[in-house]
Amino acid sequence: MPHTKRRRLVTTALAVSLGATALAACGSGDGTEAESGPVSLTYWTWTPGMDKVVDLWNKGPGKKDRITVTVKKQASGDTLITKILTAHKAKKAPDLVQAEYQALPTLVSNDALADISDEVDDAKDKFAEGVWQQTTLGTDAVYAVPQDIGPMMFYYREDLFRQYGLKVPTTWEQFAETARRLKQKAPDKDLTTFSAGDSGLFAGLAQQAGAKWWTTSGDKWKVGIDDAATRKVADFWGGLVKEGVIDNQPMYTPSWNKALNTGKQIAWVSAVWAPGTLTTAAPDTEGKWAMAPLPQWSADQDVTGSWGGSSTAVTTDSAHKEAAAEFAAWLNTDHDALNALAKEGGIYPASTSAQLSGAFSNPPAYFSHQADFYTKAAGIAKTTAPSAWGPNVNVAYTSFKDAFGPAAKNKSDFTAALRKVQDDTVADMEKQGFEVAR
């Protein structure tokens, strides 16, 4: 008995100290001060090296306007969304947050993001229309300033394509043909894999095909995950998996790294940030890869989708929205800031003028032989199809993983899996009370 008691006390003491740390952590997220005088802002971001970029602000324009920004490094993607929403519940969200484009509707729907259209409207013409539109959600408001984008491209092993006599596919039909021909010539190799773990990749491919997953008409949402364009994409990849001409295992695993590094998989449908991934995943094949535009659905088309990309947003909890918006605009449009972002954070800027200057005048080290890498990339970025995100992208993305995982494994019907994603997404929206048009 005394034993258990003591242990319980130790446990409680531990709980107390943990609780205290948690409280301290909560408190430090608060960066609000009196209205007059110097302003200090807190910024949640996952971009590496952001503190160095922010230093430029704090020593330059920020010093002049007496606006100091403090960076709090965060985990990327969905984890941060949850954290922002939780902090917002306590009215303690930071002034500035980094958010992926597809997460913006979720944040806006939770009333976490402030409308900064008055402050940042001047920046509009620095970005491609399709990119800017993602931050307005099709309304008159502006909820964020675009930071980086991920236009999709086709990466392939130049040497192995030559060895097997393969041509770089310009249409998806040719892509399928290339996969089949490779299987004939080298049965143990695959052109690429269909990864059920990467919802963003599939979303980008659907976007290229012209899919609009979430649209609004009047006071109602329409969910089109199961639309004709997406079905075409699902059918195409499902067919290749069923035929056995491409692999069906997820990406970003040790196996996948090895497959890329040893030439077991000789191509990758990816985005502009691929050089960074390839550098770590396939270090032995540096200089053997080349980049080309994504294959098209018909030969006379020239569109791409996007995979990844994020923006800087101001929260409704910020006491200094104007100052925060000023910083967000500077960060994503100023020449020096973008240069530093590219150098320190390795991002591909959304700002069109920055895509060809400074850090992007030379190709990435991994693609040093493809001198026009970034010229080509900027050209491809211009062809990005508009995207349409809704308030529960997170649900659709999870449902995608759970539905397409078994479908890829069993090489079964991908359109049935797609229908499940559509149904799950609509059911979740209706459960929350959104008006959904049937």
């Binding site: 319980r8 006390l9 409680t12 003491a13 709980a15 107390v16 609780g19 969905d78 984890t79 969304i81 949850t82 929403l85 509707p105 979720t106 806006v108 729907s109 939770n110 009333d111 959600l137 309304t139 059920a196 773990g197 609004t216 006071d219 109602k220 949402w221 069906n248 295992q249 997820p250 970003y252 695993t253 040790p254 196996s255 090895k258 497959a259 077991k264 409704t316 308030p391 529960n392 997170n394 649900v395 999870t398 993983k401 759970d402 995982g405 078994p406 890829a408 494994k409 979740d428 929350q432 009370g433 959104f434 008006e435």
Partner: protein, 308 residues
């Protein structure tokens, strides 16, 4: 004079409460309150109006038992529970069986290098669950695993351990590898506390070492076995680390593989903390019922044995 006596008697009377106070306050603040809040949340839900954009479009409202009926109707939660049941049916008997076997072997007089072996078997327990799962994940992946390399060289069949039935074995293996050492130590410690007279008596009666093990040692460590069984059931119901870590490596583990993964997914993947709270409450109740039910059954048996 009388004042001081009365004060003293008051002090003596109040003392236990004074001593209790810190623990009670801490218990209320960091245990009862969060649980109460979770239960409260489980009866709430979010109501969105119209497009759900802009301020005031999202309200928290009373949901009654809606989240609970939803959880009962959600087949994924039940499937998760069944998957965990299957997993537990492998883990618990194998792990406890091995733990008991190792403990008996270490306790036998013929054991050599006992301290080293004990440490070696215990060591995996010191490795964090996520690290262990990652480690085994690498060993299960055909393309990077040395085992598959050897199987390939020997021309033997190479089963896919991250799929179908073998997936359960793969997951159980991680738990057994990590947990056997701890349970072995618990059982071994209680084996060491059996008085030497009992063995002497057994020896005089001509019992073989096997008979000693079966007739004396195992019945005498029964309370430890009950304890380890109890811990194992709770650990099984709460399995989360292993499937979560293996999930990105395979198409076969979904985001709601175990009930706790479903709770996590609802709370942090779908941002629906209300359903997650209801599911968490359900899981807690089931865990309580199962573990207390088991303890009760074990106690009743002990009493019967004592009287009978």
């Amino acid at each position: 004079m009388s004042g001081s006596t009365s004060r003293r008697s008051y002090g003596v009377k109040g003392a236990p409460y004074g001593f209790l106070l810190p623990a009670t306050v801490l218990f209320a603040l960091f245990f009862a309150l969060p649980i109460g809040y979770a239960v409260w949340l489980s009866f709430r839900k979010v109501r969105v109006s119209g497009l759900g954009l802009g301020s005031g479009a999202r309200k928290e409202v009373w949901a009654g038992f809606e989240n609970y009926t939803g959880a009962f109707r959600d087949s994924e939660l039940l499937h998760g529970a069944l998957r965990v049941l299957g997993y537990g049916c492998i883990v618990v008997p194998v792990m406890l069986g091995l733990a008991l076997l190792f403990a008996l072997m270490l306790d036998s007089e013929k054991a050599r290098l006992a301290p080293f072996t004990r440490l070696a078997i215990f060591l995996p327990y010191a490795i964090p669950g996520v690290v262990a799962a990652l480690l085994w994940g690498f060993l299960y992946l055909p393309d990077v695993s040395p085992f598959y390399f050897v199987l390939d060289k020997l021309g033997l069949p190479q089963p896919d351990l991250l799929d179908g039935g073998p997936l359960y074995l793969a997951l159980s293996n991680i738990a057994v590898w990590g947990g056997t050492g701890f349970n072995m130590i618990v059982i071994y410690t209680s084996l060491r506390s059996i008085p030497a007279e009992v063995y002497e008596a057994a020896e005089l009666d001509g019992a073989t070492p096997l008979q000693v093990a079966l007739r004396i040692k195992i019945p005498m460590v029964a309370p430890s076995l009950v304890l380890t069984f109890f811990f194992s059931i709770i650990a099984t119901l709460q399995v989360f680390n292993e499937p979560t870590t293996l999930k990105p490596l395979t198409n076969s583990v979904n985001t709601t593989w175990s009930p706790l993964m479903k709770v996590y997914q609802d709370a942090f993947g779908r941002n629906d903390i209300y359903s997650a709270a209801a599911e968490a409450t359900l899981i807690a109740v089931v865990t309580l019922l199962l573990s207390f039910g088991f303890l009760r059954a074990a106690n009743r048996r002990n009493k019967q044995e004592a009287t009978g």
